[in-house]
Structures are given as structure tokens and as C-alpha cells.
Amino acid sequence: MQKRRISDYLMTALIWLSATATASILLIIVGFIFSNGWRLISPTFLTREANDTLRIVNFESESMVTAEIMGDLLVVEGIGLTLERDETYGIKVNHVAADAPGRHALDNAGEIFPIRRGQVLEGINEERIHGGTTLDEISTMFDNHSTFTFRIRQLGGGIFPMLISTLMLIFTTLLIATPLGVLAAIYMVEYAKQGRIVNMIRFAIEILAGLPSVVHGLFGMLFFSRILGLGMSVLSGALTLTVLLLPIMIRSTEESLKTVPNSYREASLGLGANKIQTIRKIILPSALPGITVGIILSIGRIVGESAALLFTLGTFARIPVNPATGNLSIFEAGATLTLRAFIEVQEFGNIEMASAIGIVILVIVFTLNLCSKLMTKKFGK
């Protein structure tokens, strides 16, 4: 009796210990990411490019230019600019008027590079501005000038390109993977007779599901990037992810198709509808919640995936834009949030940046998880 009591207490202690260990480890990790990255989080973090952009831009003024100091700001009439002093960077643009000529400033390549709030001014005409320059010193640089050449630094350190890349990747992947998965699931549930073909497909799905994402990435790099010649691009990444996500999409669609009662199918066919009408009008709508859950799970996987994308999408902190036309293109490379976080650590050792990106990733993933839980609760099966 004594012996059993002691071993019971021991086991109970171990159980509590394990649970505490598990809970604390996981909370520590989340806490670590938040505490290391929160300082970087701001609206500008979300909207800025990753790297600083340095440009020399030119514009003209129509009217007379006068610079006047008002409080902490330098207001420059005639070009509609207000400048402020910043401790870290020196002189920054505080405000650009709606009719300011700077909005259409041209760089040396003849392309428009608008002057914007937040940009750092590093040179006006021939004069250089450095960190210690005061607003007073600058105010004289505007006199007697009507054409201006500004040396502008647009600050980076943001994740905007990664956000765009991630969105493009999600959209493209779902566009390809969802129909494929749903159609395949419809085949498995509504058409296939139990037998060789079905078993073959199921076996293939099992294997695909069990492949580590490295292998998907290697295959994607070889087949989509090299053999098909897509190089590193959103499309290549999307195709690789489609293969990776196929099991998830098929399984969740299959499950929800199976919950549609057979009596619906019988009633529909009994009323003279054909199979396609039955699928389209009755079965698919009923299966929609399950399909949506599959989509949400896939989005979560896309956001978190890294090994499969390293060499199919790339790791470039850029917006996937065709350099010739300036339009978004799925044939261009980019980097998702997760990939970027990895690079920040592996190449730059920048924990703070990686954690900040991590916060954004966690917020997205947790929200998705919540959504899918709500969906399964609401449509309850």
C-alpha cells in the first residue's frame, strides 16, 4: 500500500512536470519571438521595402522658393515641402503638399520617383547633408534656386515585398491546387469504384504526404525551375507547393464529401437530375465548409513552408515585378515572410528582424487557425 502511494505520487509529479515543461517551452518560444521583435513592429515596417533605396531626383519649382523655420519644422514654400530633424538620420521629409512638384520628381533614368514623407534627405543640389546638419543650415540651401536635385534615401527594413510575395504565392498556389484537389476528391468519392485505380491514387497521396519538404523542394527546383525553365519564380514555387498540398486538399475535400447524406444524391437523381447537376447543385455546396477548412489549412502551410521554396521561389527581398513592365508577375522571384526570416538569421544573424517577421507570421498563422476552428464549430461535422 505504501509502495503504491509513493509511486503514484512520483508519477503524478512527473505528469505535472511534463505538462509544465511542455507549456513553458512553447510559451517561452512565443514570448521570445514577441519580445525580440516587437520594437520593429510599426505600420512602416509593414509598408517599407526591405532595403534602403538611394536615388538622385530632380524637379523644378514654378513659384518663388522661400524657406522658413516654424517651430521644429522647416517649411519650404514654392516646392510644398516640410522638413524635420531626426536624431538618427538627420533631415527627413515631414510633409509633401498635394501640388508639390516633388511628387513628380524624375530620377536620372527618367523614371518618376516621388518625394514622400519619411524619406531621408542626404543632399540638396551640390550640398551634402549629414547626421548633424540642422534645419537652420539647410534653410539657406533653398534660396535663389528654382531647379532642385535631391539625394534621397528611402528607408528599408520593411517587409512589404515579402507580404506581396506571400500573397501572390498563396493566390497562385490556391488557384492551381484547389481545383485539382477538389476534382480529384470528387473522383474518389462520386465516381471511382473500389479497385486498382482508387488504391493507386490513395497510395500516391500517402507517399506525397510523407515526403519531407526538402524532397519537394529538390524536385521543384529540378522539374519546375530547371526542366520547365521557370527559374526561381512565384509560379515555380506555387507548382511545387501544389504537389505538396495535394494530399491536404484531397483529404479534407474527401471527408466533407463523405458527410453528404446519400439520400440527397438519391433524391436528386430520382428527380431527373444528372450526375453533374447533382454534384454541382447539391453535393459541392454541402461540402463547402470542409473545402474551406482545407483551404485555410493550406494557407497556413504555405505561409510556414520554407524548405520547398528556398530554390523554387527564391530568397530575394523584392516584389515579384517584371523589371521591363513594372507589373506584378508570377514569373519573377521573391521571398515569403518565413524564407526571409530564415535568411535574416542564417546570413545576417539578425535576430531582431527575424523575430519581428516571426511576429507577423505568428499573427497570421494563429488567426488562420482560429478561423478554421470557428468554421468546424459552426458547421459542426
Binding site: R4, M11, L14, I15, W16, S18, A19, A21, T22, A23, L26, I29, I33, N36, P179, L180, L183, A184, I186, Y187, E190, Y191, A192, I197, I201, A204, I205, L208, G210, P212, V214, V215, G217, L218, F219, L222, F223, V243, P247, I250, N274, K275, I276, V303, G304, E305, S306, A307, L310, F311, A341, F342, V345, I351, A354, S355, G358, L362, F366, N369
Partner: protein
């Protein structure tokens, strides 16, 4: 009369068309798997066949070699195999007991308000991307190990095992909780009615009752551990050689090997990467088969 037959033919044709459409979607998965297997196996086995344009390599040397130095034409994955095995085994050794006990806590021991909080939390945490675990490992675990390691850095097998354990925990816990809860209540009631304590009931009746689900969780955990790449790269050290003789030694795993060289490997080196994949495949297959045999045996009892 004829109109009806024409209608039948037309309908039959369009139904056949749709049938073909759905079938092709289903076969797409099969095509992908076939393509993957063909591409990997053809490229990966060439170095060991005579007449390879990039030169031949001895398969035995490949499997047992302890140096990976493409510049010198050395391709040995032996030390990586050992590292991968140690890492997976270590992660399971730590993760499975802690995971099962935590699951027991949530399903049986915790007061219901606590269980209600813990379960979704663990599920949510299973969704964290692996890279973030790597970041944590890099920033916290490696420096921590650095404090007491006899080796120059904290990048080590121990770091890898710890990171893998943490990654594998949430899924083991989540599945085990579901399995434990699925055990019929009358088993539990029967045991308690016979005078067994709660703890005894848990270990003698509930856990064996949830055997099948728990083993599934273990299989999934092993799959995740052996296939994990990104989190591990940041903490492993990735040396070019060296069978790990202590947990403080830096290691290179089969998976990390593939990723590290993927970007620039050509010729023989590229083929060797595919060969590494073949080895990885074999291990995953072997482990899965063994585990499913154990599962079948266990479930029968």
C-alpha cells in the same frame, strides 16, 4: 423515339467527358509521385553505375564515408546517416515520454478549466512554422550550450535534439490526447471500481487502450523529426566530416546536406545530392515499415 436515343448518346458522351476530367485530376497525384520517384532515382543512382559522365563512385564508400568534400571528390554520407539516426532517436527518447505524460495531464489529470486552455494552446503551437523554432534554437539554445560545452561552439547534436523535441511535442500531445479521450469510459470505470488508483488506471488501462493512436502520433513525430531541415540547419553546425561521438559535437544531417548544397551543386555533386535523397527515402521507408509492424502487433494484443 430516335430523339430519345440521340439524347441518351449525347448525355452519355458528356458524362464520359466529365468522368475523364475527374479521373485526370485524380491521376495527377499519381503522375507527380511517379515523376518525383523517377527523377530522383535516375539521377541519384547514376554515380554508382558504370559509365556515368561525371565519374563513378563506389556505393559502399558513399554509404560509409565520413567526409563530404566535393572539392576533393569525396562524398561520404555515413556520418550524416549516423547523425540523423541519433538526432531522431534522441528527439523521440525525449519527446515521446514528455508528450504522452503531457497528454495524460490534459486528458486526465488537469482540472477541466486548465485542460480547456491547454489543449487549444498546444494545437495552436503545432502550427508554428519550423523556421521559428530554428531562430529560437540559434538565439537561445546554442548560446546556452556554448556555456558548458567542451567544443568551441554550441552548434551540436544536443541543440538539434532539443529543437526537434520541441517541434515534435505539440503533434504527439495533440494526437495522444484525442486517443486517450477516445478510450471507452467503461474501461476506466471498471478499473476504478476494482480499487485501482487513478494513476494505475491511467497506466494500466488508458494508455494501453489508446495504444493505436499514440503509436500513430509517434510515427508522425518520427516522420517530422527525420525530415526536418530548416530549423535544424541553424543549430547543427553542418561540418564537412566527423561522426558525432558526443552530443556536443556538431553534426550534419541528411536533410541539411541536401539544402546546403542545392543552390550551386552541378555534375557529380548534384547527382550525389539525389543519392542522399535516396538514402533518406530508404530510412523513412524502413522506419515507417518497422513502426507500422509494431503498431499492428500492438493493436492485436
Amino acid at each position: 423515339m430516335d430523339v430519345e436515343i440521340k439524347l441518351t448518346k449525347k448525355r452519355a458522351f458528356s458524362e464520359k467527358l466529365f468522368h475523364a476530367l475527374f479521373l485526370s485530376a485524380g491521376l495527377f497525384a499519381v503522375i507527380c509521385v511517379t515523376a518525383i520517384i523517377i527523377l530522383i532515382f535516375t539521377r541519384g543512382s547514376r554515380p554508382f553505375m558504370p559509365g556515368n559522365e561525371y565519374g563513378t563512385y563506389h556505393f559502399f564508400n558513399f554509404l560509409t564515408g565520413t567526409f563530404w568534400r566535393p572539392a576533393f571528390g569525396e562524398y561520404g554520407v555515413g556520418y550524416m546517416i549516423i547523425a540523423s539516426l541519433f538526432a531522431t532517436f534522441g528527439a523521440m527518447l525525449l519527446g515521446v515520454p514528455i508528450g504522452i505524460l503531457t497528454a495524460v495531464f490534459i486528458a486526465e489529470v488537469a482540472p477541466s478549466w486548465l485542460a480547456k486552455i491547454m489543449q487549444p494552446t498546444v494545437e495552436l503551437l503545432a502550427a508554428i512554422p519550423s523556421v521559428l523554432y530554428g531562430v529560437f534554437g540559434f538565439a537561445v539554445i546554442v548560446p546556452m550550450i556554448n556555456n558548458f560545452t567542451p567544443n568551441p561552439t554550441g552548434y551540436s547534436l544536443m541543440a538539434v535534439i532539443l529543437v526537434l523535441t520541441i517541434m515534435v511535442l505539440p503533434s504527439i500531445v495533440a494526437i495522444s490526447v484525442t486517443s486517450l479521450r477516445a478510450v471507452p469510459t467503461h474501461y476506466k470505470e471498471g478499473s476504478l471500481a476494482l480499487g485501482a488508483s487513478h494513476i494505475q488506471t491511467i497506466f494500466k488501462v488508458l494508455i494501453p487502450g489508446a495504444k493505436s493512436g499514440i503509436l500513430t502520433a509517434v510515427v508522425l513525430g518520427v516522420g517530422r523529426a527525420i525530415g526536418e531541415t530548416m530549423a535544424v540547419i541553424l543549430v547543427a553546425g553542418n561540418p564537412e566530416s566527423g561522426v558525432p561521438t558526443s552530443i556536443f559535437d556538431p553534426v550534419r544531417l541528411l536533410t541539411t546536406n541536401i539544402v546546403l548544397e542545392q543552390g550551386y551543386a552541378t555534375g557529380l555533386q548534384a547527382q550525389m545530392l539525389f543519392a542522399t535523397v535516396i538514402v533518406l527515402f530508404t530510412f523513412i521507408l524502413a522506419i515507417n515499415l518497422t513502426l507500422s509492424k509494431i503498431r499492428k502487433k500492438a493493436v492485436r494484443i
